[in-house]
Every structure is written in C-alpha cells, then in structure tokens.
Symmetry: C2
Subunit: 397 residues, 2 copies
C-alpha cells in the first residue's frame, strides 16, 4: 500500500537488478511492519506479495542485524513466528496544524502511539506561532516519553489548505489565509532540523483511515473533512492520490448555489458557503447575544434543537449530493466522514446518506459504505505520522 | 504505464523470486514495445525503468528467440540499436459497439493499424446483431490484410455502458438498454473463440489517448465522451482507473437541474438530460418536418445557425461546469473531448472551457489543458485494441 520512496540512485539500484530486488523486498517487509505493527511471517508474505521462503530469508538476515525481533506465537491454532520491528527508540512525529489548534502525536516504528497532545491557538494566528506551538509540544512529549531528540525519524505535518506540488506552497483559498505562499517546508526544516513531509490535512485524514483506522484493506476510500472548510482526501488503488499539481479532493468548491455567497476560493456558491461549520455558526448565531461554537452546535443538536437539526440536515443533504458526484466519478468502496462534527453521528450521517443515494448512479450509491471516522480529532496527526513511516529514510538498511 | 496481467501463478513466479523478476522485466520490455512501436535500447531503459545492461541482456535473449528484431540507427547523432517486436503476423482486434454502429480495427504487435472499418446498425438493435456485424467485419478485414485467423491474440470490445466488475455485466442505465444484463463476455467468446477483454467505451477512449494519441506521457487524463450519453474515462497515475465495482467517470449523471427531466439512470435532471446529443436533437427538431441528426447539428452550427449555436453553448457550459467538479476532485493534466461532436472544434470547446474556468478552483482550472480528441471516431476501437496488447497472454514468453 505505501508509496515507495521517490528516489533510488546508483546503477546497482536500478529496478531490474539483483541488489535492487533484495533492497525492495526488505523495504516491503519493513514498510508492512511499520504500517501494521506486529505480523506473522505468513501475514507478511500475504501483505507484501513475497513468497514465504523470501520472507523467511529476509527476516533471518534482519534478526541477525538486530533490525527486527521475533517471538513464537500461534495463528489459527498453528505455531507461527510473530515479527515486529526493533523500534530502537526511533520515533515519527505527526503534526496537525488547524485554524485554531495544533495537535501532535509521537509514534514508534512498531506502530504504537507513544504520546499525543494539542493546544488551542487564536483564530488568524501566523504560521510562526503554529510552528512554535508544535515545537514546544514535541519537546514536551519527548521528555514525557523519555525519548531522545536524536531518535526522531522525521516530522509529518498536515496543513488545512491545498498544497501546489509545483512550488510546495499552500495555494490561495486555504482555510489559513495567513499561511498562503510561505515556504512551509523550509520553515519546518529550520524549526525542527529533521526530515519534513507535508500534505493537505484531508489527504492525511484519508491516509490515517487506511493505516490506523479500520480500513487497512480498503483500496479506494474517500475521507471527507467537514469543518470550517470542506475537503476530501482520496486513497485510490491503495495510495494517496495527488493528480497533476497536487490539488485533489476539493469538493468544498463544487458550485451548489448559482447566486450564492462569494467563497474564499474566488468562486460563488461553493458547497462550503452552504455546508461548512462557519456557515452553520452564522445561521445559528442570529438573534443570540453570543455566537454559538461548533461544540455548541453538536450539543444543542443532540438535545433536539429544531434550528440546529434543520441546519445540519440541509448541510448534510448538500454534502451527500456532492459526494454522489464523487462516487459517480471514482467509485470508492468506503466514504469516511471526519472533522469537528463527528459527535453528531446519525444526525449528520443520515442526511448525507440520503443526499448520496438520491443523486448517485444507483449501483454506485448502493455499493458505497458511508461511516463516521472513529479516529476523532487524531486522524490528521496520525496520518501525518504515517507520512513519515512511509517516506522517511529507513533506519540501517 | 500498462497494468500488469492480473494472474501470476506458481511458487517460482511469486513477485520476489528470481525467475519472476526476469519474467517481469521481459514483459515490461514487450509491453513497452507493444505500446510505443519502435524504440531504441536507451528509450526502452527509460520507459521501463530498467538499467541499460538489463535491457541489453534481455534484448539479446529475445533476438536469439526470434521474438524481436533489431536494426542499427542513430539517436541524437550517436549510433544506437533500434528494437521492434517481430510481429510474426500476430493481430489484436479492437471493436467499438455503439448505439447505432460498430467499428473494428486490426492492429499489429508492433503498434501499427493494419485495417479498420465500421457499419451502421439500426437504433435498438439486439446485442446479437452487433456481435454478428462485428464478426463479419473482422472476417472481411482479415481477408483484406491477408492475416490468418490463427494469428489473433485476442479481441477488445468497448461497450457504451458501465460494466459492473462484480458480475461482468452491463448495468442498468446503459445507453444500449437492449444489452443490459447479458453475459457479453460469454457471448463474445462464443462468437470469436479467442481471448476477450471488455470495457466501457469512455474508458477505452481515454486509453487510446495515452496509447495512440498525442498524450503518451500524460499520467492523469480525463476523456469525456459527449454523444447520446455522456461519460468520462479516467487515466490516473498512468493506468485506467476502475474504482470499487468498475463504474467510474459517470459524470453524465451529475444532477444539474433539480426539477429537470427523468434520466435513464433513474435519477432526475442529470447532465445528460441537458447536454447530450439526444437532448440537442430534441431541442433543434421542434417545428421541423424531419428530426435533425447529429451530423446536421454539426453542419448547421458550422454554418452559423443561431439556435444550434445557442443549444451547443448551453450544453458546453453545463459540461464545463461538470468537468470543473472532476478537476477539483482528481486534478488531471489534460481533458480530451471526444464523441460525435468533435467536428465543432472551438464552437464546443470554448463554452466548455468557459464553464470549466468559471467553476474550478482557479489554480486547478488554469493548469488543466482542454483539447478536442484527434482520434475522431476511432478512439474507442483503438483503445479496445490496446486492452488486448496490454492484457492478452504474451506470445512465446
């Protein structure tokens, strides 16, 4: 499932050569263990597509090298060898930068969450503030877990805005306008001094579903993040999909109201102008002395407030209709809803499903599973850590 | 670019083994030659990602086996070895089944069109009639080219309807309702007695653009077929994309008019109900003694008929708007328009581009190339032949 690292250099590492073959097979095994944690040799063979003999040979060499650990276990009642990476204390960092928060997770090579925490940030904060807050969190969590800063493999960061792969910069229209156009990769490298990997937050939410969530075997999945912005992350044929310039899943900018409100992207009547939490807050704050918060919306809807229920139903229908277009186009197996409204459960899922089934080609709508994310607000940071596990230089290969 | 054949059986062909490696490398070289025709060894190395040493070794073995032919040439002023498959008379058949036609092409292993022809069929014809017409065409073209029926590698067929990969059947809502639910693969196998590969016609149009058209190096391409139905074929990361059940690119069924006409898919106000050639024919036939044909529409629009120009402009805008959603989601590098209206050129392209730019996220719309297909009505049949070149059992491996 994971994408191979982008660069393979040197003649002996050309894809057709013997040494490249052995290296690729070893990497497959390590990536599988990073992604899934503990596996038997038989499971490793299945996941990597390698023969059990090849797996067994490579595992033996890696045990000798101290790179992995094995222990006897049973599988379907038979004796088996359970394999896990010797984490050697190596740690991957995942950071989720939001409009009003930053969340951090530390994960180990053997696919365990070591520590996690987050802080709130003021609306409209500059990129520097977000980066500094993340750096403080990472330092504190390292101390808490007793890990060593030298053990950091790399840092993955999720950004709530599309990233143009031609320039590596957040493009105009991002939910964090203060972050547009800055050299984020450079700033993060400077602040942390370790390898940095960045991606759009919805893409990372999708990646988290197939690496930490219950969908490890799903090859085509859409993660829809519904918050003050609306964006989707796509897993197609088992890997995150980036298209031509890296800007994919922008369903928040489907036109749904011809003469609707002007959107931050420059167009008019986009889905975001009718179904984002910002729009819900606007609608439900009228006539109140204090504006409602996203948490308030969830609370009063669960209490049965008719205005909140109506606003959520309308938003859900609009989102479902946009998802129908997504299904008609890329026909995913599963759609997972994430963002700040997951606590609404059926109150939100039901109108989304109604909109989806009403507007999708019947055979497609009926065969698509729709579910609420079970990773709550950790999805993006976990996906960011997966970026590191999938793309960072592998230790001592 | 081509997908690997689906089945690899036997322990010695597990992806990690030596013999599997050599087999895969040989296949890469053959597939590259099938797809591109004649290549130098250096170009082969670039296209397959193999080292020049590996390419040279395999080419040598294949020359000894009589499978390929080499000849001296020059490349950038230097001496080089040009490699081509020894076609040995092997032929791939591509068939495009339409609502009122069937087109057939015969192509050789070394990527040349040997013969092509088509016949018109009555609207509402049964699958049997279409298959029999195709069989007659194939027999005649074989005689014309002096090829032997024993030399047929396989037959690819394009169907104007979505194919459910779970059952292999055309699903409800296809443009050929008479073909829904029949076991097409079985019928074609019976009629031709050679390996059969089928796909949706829009998918094959997309495949033709990257195998026979000018877009051989484009990794993300959308082919939009605009005719009595509207459907898209997707090339994502260099290969046709099929999603979960095989039904992708169904943008003709995006809802664009809430209280619009009932669509053959069972929904209401789909793009097809406002922008298909059937709708154009309905609109432009009112008040005429004879209904206009698609060819008439092209002709009178080129003559400047105001009603035709208005109908095409409205349809183009609606198609462009739907394509904006496609761009926002999968961010292709190129969109190619095909179907029965390609003769309209700028008259159709211009409103499509206007709709696309108006509704796409600006960075995405501006970076997407939009062009008319240069393969005219051969695209689908050529794509069907490519299916065979990519998926048929390779000769004497």
């Amino acid at each position: 499932m994971p994408a191979e690292p982008a660069t393979v250099t040197g003649t002996d590492q050309r894809p057709g050569s013997q040494s490249a073959l052995r290296r690729r097979n070893s990497q497959r095994i390590i990536r599988a263990l990073m992604t899934s944690g503990r596996l038997t040799q038989a499971e490793l063979a299945r996941q990597t597509g390698l023969s059990t003999a090849t797996v067994s040979n490579i595992v033996k060499a890696m045990v000798d090298g101290g790179l992995i650990l094995t222990s006897p276990t049973t599988s379907s009642g038979r004796r088996a060898l359970s394999v896990t990476l010797n984490g050697r204390g190596a740690v991957a960092v995942g950071v989720d930068f939001g409009r009003r928060h930053v969340n951090v997770v530390l994960v180990s090579l053997d696919h365990r969450v070591l520590a996690e925490d987050g802080v709130e940030l003021p609306l409209g904060h500059q990129a520097e503030e977000g980066i500094e807050a993340a750096a403080q969190l990472v330092r504190r969590l390292l101390v808490d877990t007793g890990a060593d800063a030298g053990s950091l493999l790399g840092l993955g960061a999720g950004i709530p805005g599309p990233i143009d792969h031609r320039t590596g910069k957040v493009i105009h229209g991002a939910i964090l306008p203060e972050w547009v156009g800055i050299d984020l990769l450079g700033r993060l490298r400077e602040a942390f001094g370790i390898p940095i990997f960045i991606d759009n937050d919805a893409n990372l939410g999708a990646l988290a579903q197939v690496s930490w969530g219950p969908y490890q075997n799903v090859r085509n999945l859409v993660f829809l993040k519904l918050g003050s912005g609306i964006g989707a992350g796509l897993i197609l044929n088992g890997a995150p999909f980036y298209g031509n310039i890296g800007v994919t899943g922008e369903i928040g900018h489907a036109t749904v109201a011809d003469h609707g409100l002007i959107c931050r992207c420059g167009n008019r009547g986009c889905l975001e102008t009718v179904a984002s939490t910002s729009t819900m807050i606007d609608l439900l704050s009228r006539g109140r002395s204090e504006p409602v918060s996203t948490e308030d919306i969830v609370r009063i809807a669960l209490e049965g407030d008719p205005a909140a229920l109506r606003v959520i139903d309308d938003a859900g229908l609009a989102v479902g209709r946009a998802l129908a277009n997504v299904c008609n186009l890329v026909n995913p197996e599963v759609i997972v809803l994430g963002g700040s409204l997951t606590g609404l459960d059926a109150i939100l899922l039901e109108p989304v499903r109604r909109g989806l089934l009403r507007h999708a080609v019947p055979a497609v709508g009926e065969s698509t599973e729709l579910a609420m994310s079970g990773l709550s607000n950790r999805a993006e940071a976990l996906g960011a850590a997966t970026l590191v596990l999938q793309q960072a230089e592998l230790p001592s290969l």
